[in-house]
């Protein structure tokens, strides 16, 4: 056997923390990297000093590299949960102007296109659910396929798949998987326009045929949570979020189809970049001009994959409602909101007094529209968009609301979650799945998962402190805290 020290490769595991000497501190929550060395715009990181110091130096490098891409507008942003991603940092936000040679990047959207979170209100009290907690955990685990090797009951032919890719959550509702009233509470009203299923390869379409209504694995989950604290009672009341009541949060994305689309376009964009005159400081930043054939094809494919994610979360919602109906017939599960945090959206923004059409990449970042935004449904418009922030297994999650200031500060964007603090290998070395499950059960949190190793890799301690992340988001003026959620049941792949 070969000797192995177990030490990470210095080449690919950065051992350098953020060097704050490279940053200009503009406030306690805003740090600026001045534009230099080929940067077209500055970099801006929103976080408190402790989070900044915990960030990997790779975040700095990636923010700088994104700032070098053609057509970028205002700044290359990183949210408080930023960590080392692929080309773009996870927690990165960047807007590009097609009229200024702006680009679209497969890496800037991510492999799991339109991965996102939705939260359902149940109206049930915590004590009602505690009384049937084990039955509910087992029923949800049985009903919602999670992890590799557990397929769903929905099997689509290519025509059905293409209809889904055009229709998104609206298609799911038309098939009987979901509720018409949900659509108003989903970004783009549940159906992303401009989707082009024909821009998606046959391989990618085949990969998805048996995966609709499945949760996936990694950090994806379905969680039953208690509203354990209200921060803003006025907004919470408007959202229908009440202390001591139960909500269900679903975190997943476009499954195999999104992954396949991401992989295929990443390689294609990397190979074609020189022909477009684009110098890539990092090949993972692979991108194409928005006005190029590849750029347009990726946009159409990405929008179709977005519909796949919206349909998938709608179907899982339907499966969840069936479980609740069997155990709590009186419960009516209504959708608070559905947000995607791996996206590129075409949006209008004010830039230096001009109204401009921009393509805003949010890689591990949540759109956070402030009060009065016309894209919000009328019932939410006075309060701002619900911003749903997932914690890690066994830790709190949060509901925030978009603030008026977030438009100018980050193209109306906020954080998306806790962000990993250590690698999967480190986590697996440190924890054992069975022990974690038992420890969490003692705290009243039931975990259902196919793999003890998967649980260990997702250990709460492997992630940053999500409470600190949302504090920073609020203090930076990106989104305000509305309520805190504490888990009772977590279903993981």
């Amino acid at each position: 056997m070969r000797a192995d020290t177990g030490r990470p490769s210095a080449l690919w595991m950065s051992e350098h923390a953020m060097d704050t000497n490279l940053l200009e501190k503009h406030s306690d929550w805003k740090w600026v990297i001045p534009a230099r060395d080929g940067m077209r715009v500055p970099g801006i990181i929103y976080a408190d000093e402790a989070l900044i110091r915990d960030m990997d130096f790779k975040v700095y490098e990636q923010v700088v590299n994104v700032a070098k891409l053609p057509g970028i507008v205002n700044a290359s942003y990183a949210m408080p949960d930023a960590h080392w991603g692929y080309g773009f940092p996870i927690g990165g936000v960047a807007a590009f102007d097609p009229l200024q040679g702006g680009v679209i990047s497969a890496g800037g959207v991510g492999f799991d296109i339109s991965c996102g979170v939705r939260t359902l209100l149940t109206g049930l009290r915590t004590d009602q659910v505690r009384a049937s907690q084990r039955d509910l955990a087992n029923a949800l685990y049985g009903a919602v396929p999670a992890g590799l090797g557990r397929g769903g009951d929905i099997h689509l032919d290519d025509a059905g798949l293409c209809a889904m890719l055009r229709g998104g959550a609206r298609w799911a509702v038309e098939q009987g998987w979901g509720d018409e009233s949900d659509l108003d509470r989903i970004e783009e009203q549940g159906c992303q326009s401009g989707a082009q299923p024909e821009a998606i390869s046959l391989l990618a379409r085949k990969r998805q045929r048996n995966e609709m209504g499945t949760l996936g694995s990694g950090n994806h989950y379905l969680e039953v949570q208690e509203v354990s604290r209200i921060h803003d009672s006025e907004i919470a009341e408007a959202f229908g979020v009440h202390q001591g009541e139960i909500v269900v949060t679903i975190h997943c994305g476009s499954r195999g189809l999104g992954h396949q689309v991401g992989s295929e376009f990443l390689k294609r964009m990397a190979a074609e970049a020189p022909a477009h005159g684009i110098h890539l400081p990092d090949r993972e930043l692979a991108c194409a001009p928005l006005e190029s054939e590849t750029g347009r094809e990726y946009l159409g494919a990405m929008r179709a994959a977005t519909n796949c994610a919206l349909a998938n979360r709608e179907i899982i919602t339907h499966l969840t409602r069936q479980v609740f109906a069997s155990l709590f017939p009186e419960a009516v599960l209504t959708l608070l909101y559905d947000v995607s945090h791996n996206t590129c959206k075409e949006e209008m923004h004010d830039v230096d007094g001009d109204r401009r059409r921009l393509f805003v990449h949010r890689k591990g970042a949540t759109r956070a529209l402030g009060p009065g935004h016309p894209a919000l449904p009328s019932s939410l418009r006075p309060w701002g968009q619900p911003v749903l922030i997932g914690g890690s297994m066994g830790t709190n999650s949060h509901i925030l609301a978009g603030m008026p200031e977030s438009e100018a500060r980050s193209f109306a964007s906020a954080c998306h979650g806790a962000g990993r603090a250590m690698s999967r290998r480190q986590a697996y070395r440190q924890w054992r799945g069975r022990q974690l499950i038992d420890d969490l059960a003692e705290r009243g949190i039931l975990i259902r998962s196919t793999s003890g190793r998967g649980v260990a890799e997702e250990a709460p301690g492997a992630y940053k402190d999500v409470d600190r992340v949302v504090d920073s988001a609020e203090n930076a003026g990106l989104a305000c805290k509305v309520a805190r959620l504490t888990p009772l049941i977590t279903i993981k792949g």
Binding site: R2, M13, Y86, I90, F111, L148, G149, L266, S423, R424
Partner: protein
């Protein structure tokens, strides 16, 4: 072809033919080393299986064949790993033995494995795909070959 296998971070057939994992901030890296580029690709695919489960728990009962073409050896490696990922998720199979033949820009691969048995294999994660992060296909000391990249999970 296969020697000692083990769950965790690494395993070796010999001093010159082995696989190992390496760290990435949020995901995991796979690395294969062999006497030829093809052997390095085979070992990296073993590392991929070990991201998901203990390769020693997977019987090499069925064979699946894949083809890839790419003039860039590093992108050909990404194609190869993506092809294995594709077979895992679409066939719901795991693979514990790999054979690669290369000719110019072309790769032909044989994947030996069996259908996923959740109870026996306990898959920890579903790999989404290969990334270009940490991507290298190169000769290393002793004239051997190393192929590696980070995979998204």
């Amino acid at each position: 072809m296969m020697g000692v296998l083990g769950i965790g971070s690494w395993s070796a057939v010999s001093a010159t033919t082995y696989w190992r994992h390496f760290d990435h901030g949020s995901d995991i890296g796979i690395r294969g080393v062999g006497r030829t580029m093809a052997e390095a690709f085979e070992q990296a695919a073993m590392a991929l299986t070990a991201v998901i489960c203990d390769p020693g728990s997977v019987s090499a009962e069925e064979v699946v064949e894949v083809d890839s073409d790419n003039p860039d050896p590093e992108l050909l490696f990404v194609d190869w790993i993506d092809a294995v990922v594709y077979q895992v998720v679409t066939r719901q199979m795991l693979f514990s033995r790999f054979r690669v033949e290369m000719s110019g820009d072309h790769l032909h691969g044989w994947l030996y494995g069996e259908a996923i048995d959740i109870g026996r294999h306990q898959p920890a994660v579903e790999v989404k795909g290969a990334t270009l992060t940490g991507l290298e296909v190169r000769r290393i000391e002793g004239g051997h070959w190393q192929a590696q990249c980070v995979v998204d999970v």
